[in-house]
């Protein structure tokens, strides 16, 4: 489980870009690509290695409300990326 105190940032192998065909954010890494939905793109924008997970959740909840649902979404999404070894800064 992703700790609230972790300060995640993208691993060097991952590149975030805009897809030329769909206009959506795309996370590209060796042999793979992940099309991000709006929430995923918003979460990654905040993963700068400075903010902790708790602050990322607070920032998104301030925008969208529903703190509990946002918290689940953020930690679920970050866990998915962590399982693919796409994040750094997970050790609080």
């Amino acid at each position: 489980m992703i700790a609230l105190a972790a300060r995640p940032r993208l691993a060097p192998k991952a590149r975030l870009r805009v897809d030329r065909i769909t206009g959506r954010k795309l996370l590209v890494y060796p042999e793979r690509g992940l099309a991000l939905n709006e929430t995923g793109a918003e979460i990654l924008d905040l993963c700068d290695g400075e903010r902790c997970v708790g602050e990322i959740i607070d920032a998104l909840a301030a925008r969208h409300g529903a703190h509990e649902r946002i918290a689940d979404e953020v930690r679920g999404f970050l866990q998915e990326l962590a399982d693919r070894n796409l994040l750094r800064g997970l050790e609080p």
């Binding site: 897809d19 030329r20 060796p30 042999e31 399982d83 070894n85």
Partner: protein, 362 residues
Amino acid sequence: MTAERPYTLVAELTYRCPLRCAYCSNPVHLPGRKPELDTATWRRVLREAAQLGVVQVNFSGGEPLLRDDLEELVAEAHADELYTTLITSGVPLERERLAALAARGLDALQLSFQDDRAAEARRMAGVEALAQKLRVAEWARELELPLTLNAVLQRQNIARVPEIVALAERLGAERLELANTTYLGWALVNRERLLPGVDAIEGARAAAREAAERLRGRMEVLFVLPDYHTDFPRPCMGGWARTIVLVAPDGVALPCHQARAIAGLEFESVRDTPLARIWRESAGFRAFRGEAWMQEPCRSCERRQLDFGGCRCQAFALLGDAAATDPACRLSPKHAIVAAARANAGREPAGELVYRRAPTPD
């Protein structure tokens, strides 16, 4: 039907290679082969690919390091926002050149391994290369280039999965592909000498599963079963001309490495036709796109959107009919061909390997 866009371009820069691996997927024969594309044409192809929606480019071959313009092509791909991976044997390479490639925007390195033992690696590759590969992996780590190890599994190394995993961990690989040999090209020539028996496959699979669990979040471990040992065919290339486009050294655009071996299909060259037009309109690309070409049992099979009928090149190589159900599928009326090869696998002594040569024009 048309497929919207390819996501990956496989740029086969050359068929030249210092290695002679007995399982090489390059074509054995290649009638009508033209000289290699020049730098300006490859740069145009990269720009056209990016416009068409490609996001990943794999520079491969043969050995792409034998192209003097690799640095320039990496820089072009980087400028086109493509994620660039160099798929290489690591021979010949110096640390300075790898650093220069990284500085030009190379994103990742995929290094091939034949075996974790020098003598066995030499037997499979036909040349001495293991020590050099270990050096290259070390440089990749120093330069912070994400490293994938690709170990092609066959009879000789199939029991070495734990040792290969340990090597990948020691080298700091991000990803380990334990890819069983695909029996086309030179591998089909050597099939009886390479195809492992059922028990050996099961052992390797269990070891790979254990490693994948243990290393989750640190190193991705991918185990690809050989389709001779599965009940259903592999979804070759993710479906014919669906997400991947390949450009051969002489400029012919293809849906996969082996597609030119299929008699009766016509493929255009990027020398005189834009890549987008080839992708959308080429008769060769359209031949097996979608489902209209399927025969029974594929046509009414509920798995047809999972495996796309399997591999067209394998159907052609083993049955002479590229539109037939891949005989690796147990539902194929010709599955006995594959079942017989599987039943005999690993029983006879492996014998002398037939080593790869550059494709002959006959």
